[in-house]
Assembly symmetry: C2
Homo-oligomer: 210 residues x 2
């Protein structure tokens, strides 16, 4: 029996290189869930094979800035001269329809979600150690040592923001992390703040029939 009809907004976030995308993908491959991924909006140009509305909504810089000014972004950030962000309206619609909406975003964006959606579930995906993060970043083999060093420094600052989240899930193995996130989603549906209103309503209705 489900006492919480409204969907949950689940924010997966954490430092670059921690494996957010892999964990999200494992999560969506699990059975018996009702998860929906919220597509982000960006001003960067689509790469080959990328489809508007699937990987991203590709929009002009002008259109993105209009959305920011109109308060239509749940969160956004600028990287290397391009905007990336989550439009608010589709997220609201999905939540009202009882869907579990998953965002996979940077730490900067997650702190904006915390302010705008008090009942969002913020999950910090954490590396098992700084060494492990270092290894993951270098194993990509694509970036010079100086960039790696900068990413590590940024990760350290981001880890200090973990207290703003609701949960810390260590990505020791992808399966463990995905399992834990699923347990968190189930538990959050049972939290008193989300259920007590409906539950009392339910019992009062039955009262009247006596």
């Amino acid at each position: 029996m489900k006492l919480n009809d409204r969907g949950l907004l689940i924010v997966l976030s954490g430092p670059s290189g921690v494996g957010k995308g892999t964990v999200r993908s494992a999560l969506f491959q699990m059975k018996g869930h009702d998860l929906v991924y919220s597509v982000s909006m960006t001003t960067r140009k689509p790469r080959e094979n990328e489809v508007h509305g699937r990987e991203y909504y590709f929009v002009s810089r002008e259109k993105f800035e209009d959305c920011i000014r109109a308060g239509k972004m749940l969160e956004y950030a600028e990287f290397v001269n391009n905007y990336y962000g989550t439009p608010l309206e589709p997220v609201q619609e999905l939540l009202n329809a009882g869907k579990e909406v998953v965002l996979e975003i940077e730490v900067q964006g997650a702190t904006q979600v915390r302010e705008k959606m008090k009942d969002a579930v913020l999950i910090f995906i954490a590396p098992p150690s700084m060494d492990a993060l270092y290894e993951r970043l270098t194993s990509r083999g694509t970036e010079p040592p100086e960039i790696i060093r900068q990413r590590i420094e940024k990760a350290k600052r981001e880890i200090c923001l973990a207290y703003m989240y609701d949960y810390i899930v260590v990505n020791d193995t992808v399966e463990n992390a995905a399992d834990k996130i699923m347990a968190i989603i189930r538990a959050e549906h049972a939290r008193v703040e989300r259920t007590i209103h409906k539950y009392k309503e339910l019992l009062e209705v039955n009262d009247e029939s006596k």
Copy 2:
């Protein structure tokens, strides 16, 4: 990887007739858990087959009242001229040893635990409806209608206290309820309040090795 070494105190509570004992039993039969049941103390006489230290610690009224005065009870209540309660010390020892300690107690006792152990996880086991609770109470076939009526009235008052809990788990089926409780236990271990201290410690230690 476990970021929370300390065990959790898990309190299962709810109205009489809701099936607390059955849910607890199903929970303990699940695999891969580290749950320990905390044995209560009582002044009532042992029944046949009941063993001191297994079903209850059977003590004298004098000894029980000594424990209350000395602040040695985590929670207690008096029913039909007998005391029932949970001694604090064994619970503390189990928690320090990293065990998940499960209490199955009345609503009155749960509200006392809330005050004494701020980080306890309080789970309200709820009937799917008042009709269902009525049916469960009458199906025992042992109690006169007047007693049943009193129990229903008491249940209604207790349901109003559910807001003091952390979670509401509806006992629609025993398996569902036990599953949900297990998800809650896993999720609680990942909560930021319980993990952030250890997590930062861990990363600082690794920092020094660089």
